[in-house]
């Protein structure tokens, strides 16, 4: 294993190699949000005189519960605000914010060749830009803010080669779920996933972010995609200078040797929906859940072994989260909802204020609201059961987010992960669609 794009990028950031595979890795950009940053900022303030390594290398976002919904979350947002102001850190706040993983690329904070960390496991989303981006705990994030580095074990590199054309309603989300299903919920532990192949090459940056977003769901340290003309065009459109990164575009042409390779045929990917309590537990639409009950997952989900998912009535649909809240996701969901009515409470949460405004310029907010869905402000929204759209015990939600863990969206709540198109169809039907129902609702041709 050597010479891959990931290896070259990693090595360019190693300040010191430590024992047992650990490296002192330089971090170019720290993303700081209001849930995980304040306790770390306090540690630096109390024990190290409040000095930061480089405030310009930090971007702060109030995103998880924004605007605040009670006194405690208001205190978190206020703390992040005051801290950012004191240090001259760029802050994105109510009215001009969004989920950090959606906002950071839009504002040009991630570029090929960078390393980034954040006290948030879905930081791997940013690997779509040919960056090494990974989640860390509060203390490690504080360390990166204090000293510009993290101590982290160098992962092996696994190539995830995806070739072929996606058919019917299959989407980047179904590719992500397929990868997690193939590897298992911890099958990529100790690895960085490098996604490549013709399917990935033809994906937009938004789709690439959806794919990289769920690398953590297979336990990977991160996921990334080598930068190419699509990356360059995205950054160019946002006025991000890329001259400095030129060498990384060059590096991206070299493949190197990988510790492991898996291959996925995209033409065989169909829309998936999770039936269990970890994101690897999914089945194609229309197929029955497994007969063998798995760790109580079926019991938690209120499903009998071998049950058909379309038989279970759902209580809520959520379209949003750092996995699926960008413009493309909203467009495909709106196409299903156009001229139809939702039959269960449906919450549509754009990933950022910029996404929201772009969607509104296209009239998507009218489509959602005409269909009877709630069109909200930009934030993490119902994804983590912290603010709006929390589930009560036994409630069943089809969600475009990334985690279906027990209690994720509220104690005892049941989450089925799916793509925006499947979620929108579920909103219309009040049930998870069968493949033929999905065909009907999308007006699409084949969906095997």
């Amino acid at each position: 294993m050597s010479g891959t794009y990931f290896d070259a990028l990693w090595e360019a950031h190693v300040v010191e190699s430590l024992a047992d595979g650990n490296d002192l890795l330089f971090i170019d950009k720290v993303v700081a949000h209001e849930i995980t940053t304040p306790p770390g900022a306090l540690l630096i303030e109390r024990d190290f005189g409040d000095a930061l390594f480089d405030p310009r290398a930090i971007v702060a976002v109030n995103d998880h519960v924004s605007p605040a919904n009670d006194a405690a979350t208001a205190e978190q947002a206020r703390h992040l605000r005051g801290w950012a102001k004191r240090h001259g850190i760029e802050l994105y706040d109510v009215g001009d914010n969004g989920i950090c993983h959606v906002l950071v690329p839009e504002r040009g904070f991630v570029r090929p060749g960078m390393t980034l960390c954040c006290g948030d496991s879905h930081t791997c989303t940013l690997g779509a830009f040919g960056a090494i981006a990974f989640g860390v705990g509060t203390t490690a994030q504080a360390g990166a803010m204090l000293a510009g580095c993290v101590v982290v074990k160098r992962p092996h590199v696994m190539r995830v080669r995806i070739d072929g054309v996606l058919r019917g309603a299959a989407s980047a989300k179904d590719v992500a779920l397929t990868v997690v299903r193939t590897l298992g919920a911890s099958g990529a532990r100790g690895y960085a996933l490098e996604y490549c192949g013709s399917t990935v090459e033809t994906m937009s940056m938004g789709e690439r972010m959806t794919l990289c977003n769920m690398a953590i769901e297979a336990g990977a340290t991160t996921g990334l995609i080598r930068p190419d003309a699509t990356t360059r065009a995205y950054l160019h459109d946002r006025g991000v200078p890329f001259a400095l990164e030129e060498r990384w575009y060059e590096h991206a042409r070299v493949s190197g040797t990988y510790a492991k390779t898996i291959e996925i045929d995209a033409s065989g990917i169909v829309p998936l929906v999770t039936w269990g309590t970890d994101p690897s537990q999914s089945v194609p639409l229309g197929q029955r859940v497994p007969e063998a009950a798995n760790d109580g997952a079926l019991a938690y989900m209120g499903l009998r072994p071998g049950a058909s998912l379309e038989d279970a009535a759902i209580d809520q649909v959520f379209i949003g989260s750092c996995t699926n809240s960008r413009l493309h996701d909203l467009r495909v969901a709106a196409e299903v909802l156009r001229g139809r009515r939702v039959s269960v409470p449906t919450i549509v949460t754009p990933g950022s204020q910029a996404v929201k405004r772009a969607a509104e310029r296209e009239g998507l907010h009218e489509v959602f609201q005409d269909a009877g869905a709630l069109w909200t402000h930009a934030s993490c929204g119902p994804c983590l059961g912290m603010s709006m759209g929390v589930l009560a015990k036994g409630m069943r939600c089809v969600s475009t987010s990334n985690r279906n863990f027990p209690g994720r969206m509220g104690a005892g709540g049941r989450v089925h992960l799916a793509s925006p198109v499947v979620a929108a169809a579920s909103a219309v039907l009040g049930r998870i669609p069968t493949p033929s129902q999905l065909d009907e609702l999308t007006g699409a041709g084949v969906c095997v």
């Binding site: 330089f26 024990d47 390594f53 509060t138």
Partner: protein, 175 residues
């Protein structure tokens, strides 16, 4: 350092951090007040905790601490009196968080974890990297030699703080 105490047996793989501490409790600025909410993300786990209120060592299945990066999971365990977690494997971020907070993460082979699950109490010799069960079994484990030095309170940030001059020199010389 020696840790001895009763076992909380959680023989399930993939206990994620949402189960360890649900997101609705992540509204703290200071890492305190989390202990009472430990394992409330899943009734099965909180029921087992209620049965062994004196426990100070978690013995769990593979991939303990997967999912969200929330360090609150380690804080909640420590506040509730836990000093170590034994499992066949840990998710990366939880493992890092455990070390930086002085919660000892012990990786053992599955068969050894099963022996620990059957034990009522355990004694862990952190320096010698060994575990003894109340049934007289003894297992060796290996801690990460770098992170072991972070187990003492605040060790991780002190370590990085001392490196700042070298890091600045490296950054200035960077091409």
């Amino acid at each position: 350092m020696r840790i001895s105490g009763d076992v909380l047996a959680l023989p399930f793989d993939g206990i994620d951090t949402d189960q360890i501490i649900p997101a609705m409790h992540l509204t703290v600025i200071e890492p305190s007040g989390l202990g009472p909410h430990l394992f409330t993300g899943h009734a099965e786990l909180s029921n087992r905790l209620a049965e062994v209120p004196t426990a100070s060592i978690v013995v769990a299945g593979a991939d303990f601490g997967c999912g969200s990066s929330r360090e609150h999971a380690a804080w909640a365990l420590l506040e509730r009196g836990f000093r170590a977690v034994i499992a066949p494997s840990f998710a990366r971020i939880f493992l890092e968080n455990a070390y930086t907070n002085g919660l000892v993460p012990v990786v053992l082979a599955r068969s050894d974890v099963e022996a620990c699950l059957r034990a009522r109490s355990l004694e862990i010799d952190v320096d010698a990297e060994s575990i003894s069960t109340d049934g007289g079994e003894r297992f060796m484990f290996t801690l990460d030699p770098v992170r072991k030095t972070f187990l003492e309170g605040g060790g991780y940030l002190r370590y990085l703080h001392a490196k700042i001059p070298a890091i600045r020199t490296w950054a200035a010389a960077r091409t």
